[in-house]
């Protein structure tokens, strides 16, 4: 093997030849000894028998390589999805040995409880604001970082850094900054001549506070994705637009933005997923615990609170099932309607 790796020129020609094949060609098409190349020989049946044996061996190796991972994904991702559906039909407290089958009562309760609609409303506001904010500010920062400026490598690292930090730690630091009495934000706002809101006690402002922190933590991710996109736009396009008399804003709207649409699409899908689920829990739990007066309780947070604070496991599974269906719907809609509008250059 090392002999092959030690021959760069041969490797290079091989690689070149390879690139001429469409990347989506099914595996094994040009593999020597693959189907179609040796079928015409005289001892055809022997070859076929041998191939069947190799195939069986291949399948066994495939299973040996994949089963640990697939079993774990099955056990801890797929099994719970189905279990949730079953649990959602029970009135059952976490840790209790007995449960009562109640049919669709949990769903009826959820849909008729006015609180649920409030949580849904908060989820929509939170998701739209965090996704929109992250993508918009990320794009803005990316266009700044895309200029040839001294220190832009450093700035890129600084902008991205919060993304790798623990959400709990980030939540706690900002919570102190937002402290109405001893925090650093109130004096800054007062310096502009505005009376600072009470971020801790007013539901609307508390929600705004968590949204601000979420955008701060994630905008670096969006910026770096956009930056990668901006760097593959040919410079000539902008020069041609400038020659045609287009201003910077016009160029941005008619050239840059459409060419960035694959990145925007990718970000919409990934940021929506993380905002509606994993990433927001750490912030909400470390900053507001869903309060004040439920002002920052999203559906995702309701699952946690019903299950692990109130101990109503059956009802928690109901909310989990509802959230998963919503999430699935949103993602599929995004894929179906947005991907068509994406320009791939």
């Amino acid at each position: 093997m090392s002999a092959v790796l030690a021959e760069p020129s041969r490797l290079a020609t091989m690689a070149l030849r390879e690139t001429q094949r469409p990347p989506s060609a099914p595996p094994g098409v040009s593999r020597p000894g693959g189907p179609g190349t040796d079928d015409a020989g005289p001892d055809r049946t022997a070859v076929a028998r041998g191939r069947r044996r190799t195939r069986g061996r291949e399948a066994l190796i495939f299973l040996a390589f994949t089963i640990p991972n697939l079993a774990l994904i099955g056990l801890f991702t797929y099994r719970p999805l189905f279990n949730n559906v079953y649990y959602s039909l029970l009135q059952w407290n976490l840790g209790s040995p007995t449960a009562r089958f109640v049919g669709l009562d949990n769903y009826v309760n959820w849909f008729t409880d006015p609180h649920s609609w409030n949580y849904l409303r908060i989820t929509v506001i939170f998701t739209v604001a965090t996704v929109g904010g992250t993508i918009a500010v990320g794009l803005l920062v990316a266009t700044v970082l895309n200029q040839r400026l001294h220190g832009r490598g450093f700035a890129r690292a600084v902008v991205f850094a919060p993304y790798v930090l623990s959400g709990v730690a980030v939540g706690l630091v900002w919570m102190f900054m937002f402290d109405p009495q001893f925090g650093v934000i109130a004096p800054v706002i007062r310096a502009v001549g505005i009376d600072p809101p009470n971020w801790y006690n007013q539901p609307g402002w508390a929600l705004a506070m968590v949204i601000i922190v979420y955008v701060w933590k994630h905008l670096g991710y969006a910026a770096v994705v956009y930056l990668a996109g901006l760097q593959i736009i040919p410079r000539e396009l902008h020069e041609a637009a400038a020659l045609d008399g287009a201003g910077p804003w016009r160029t941005f709207r008619s050239i840059t933005l459409p060419l960035l649409s694959p990145m925007t699409f990718f970000l919409l899908v990934t940021v929506t997923l993380s905002s509606m689920s994993a990433q927001s829990f750490e912030l909400i739990h470390s900053m507001t615990r869903g309060g004040p007066v439920d002002g920052t309780t999203t559906l995702m947070y309701q699952i946690y609170r019903e299950g692990f604070v109130a101990g109503r496991a059956g009802y928690s599974a109901t909310v989990a099932t509802i959230l998963f269906v919503i999430l699935l719907g949103v993602t599929l809609l995004q894929m179906r309607f947005l991907e068509r509008k994406v320009h791939y250059s």
Partner: protein, 271 residues
């Protein structure tokens, strides 16, 4: 002038906004109580005060938190990367009938958020008696859809001829994986490993619900323990604890940021 207004000024603004909270955390962690709880705000301490840090170490088993985080991250990330390598290799290079379906199942798993599956997973782990154990913290998160997806995308770009040449030399899949595919893909594997380490280190929801004994807590969960004990009455201690959780990650990030950034944003450009 134009470069200053549309270039350096916004650049500076971005850097300040992104750095300010971390600087505020560091400054507050070396302030005394009266210096923190004062109106109007006192920006800097008279002199750096180390008492908050010693308080964290004296009142909490901080070394133990750190060790727990290291164990959970090392084992969790190590196993995950191995599993991702095997699965991705099989998906790309081994012939199997239902490969496409398996890949779709992995992609869909990427879309299942951890919150949705906590109740059934908690019930299973509690039935096994694995609460407050490393097994209980680590095992449910070991299946990896994300790593498998990224490595598969990378393996697909490898020139097939290299792998075919190894087949002709009589190498089996095990040998081809370790002697051909892994060496050429080392940069991508390193990136996947880094990304996995970062997310394991910051993992919060699952360890929060499966651990309630302080000596088994990881650092992010320990921060919640400190928050519950000190609340908003002792920002100095809380900021010291937060700094001790955040600083190691910042140091590693500074050293390796190029790879981390590349890894976390892959998928976007490789589609």
């Amino acid at each position: 002038m134009q470069r200053l207004l549309s270039g350096y000024l916004p650049l500076l603004l971005a850097v300040v906004v992104m750095m300010a909270p971390l600087i505020w955390m560091l400054i507050s962690s070396v302030k005394t109580r009266p210096e923190i709880f004062t109106v109007p705000l006192q920006w800097l301490p008279e002199r750096p005060y180390g008492g908050n840090y010693t308080e964290v170490i004296e009142r909490y088993p901080f070394g133990r938190f750190f060790l727990n985080s290291v164990i959970v991250t090392a084992v969790g990330a190590g196993v995950k990367v191995l599993l991702a390598m095997f699965t991705a290799y099989a998906l790309v290079f081994i012939r199997f009938p239902a490969k496409k379906l398996i890949f779709i199942l992995i992609i869909v798993a990427l879309m299942v958020p951890p919150q949705v599956v906590i109740v059934p997973n908690y019930t299973l782990i509690a039935d096994l008696g694995w609460q407050n154990t490393y097994l209980g913290i680590i095992v449910p998160g070991l299946g990896t859809a994300f790593g498998t997806f990224l490595l598969r995308q990378q393996f697909l770009t490898l020139p097939r001829a290299i792998v075919d040449a190894a087949t002709l030399d009589g190498a089996g899949h095990w040998r081809k994986l370790w002697h051909v595919v892994v060496p050429i893909s080392a940069p991508t594997i390193a990136t996947v490993a880094l990304v996995t380490i970062v997310s394991e280190w910051n993992e919060y929801l699952w360890p929060l619900i499966i651990v309630d004994r302080p000596d088994m807590m990881t650092l992010p969960v320990a921060l919640t323990l400190m928050q519950n004990a000190d609340g908003t009455n002792n920002w100095g201690v809380l900021m010291a604890g937060t700094a001790m959780v955040v600083l190691p990650v910042l140091v590693v990030f500074t050293l390796l940021q190029r790879h981390i950034v590349a890894g976390l944003t892959q998928g976007a450009t490789t589609g």
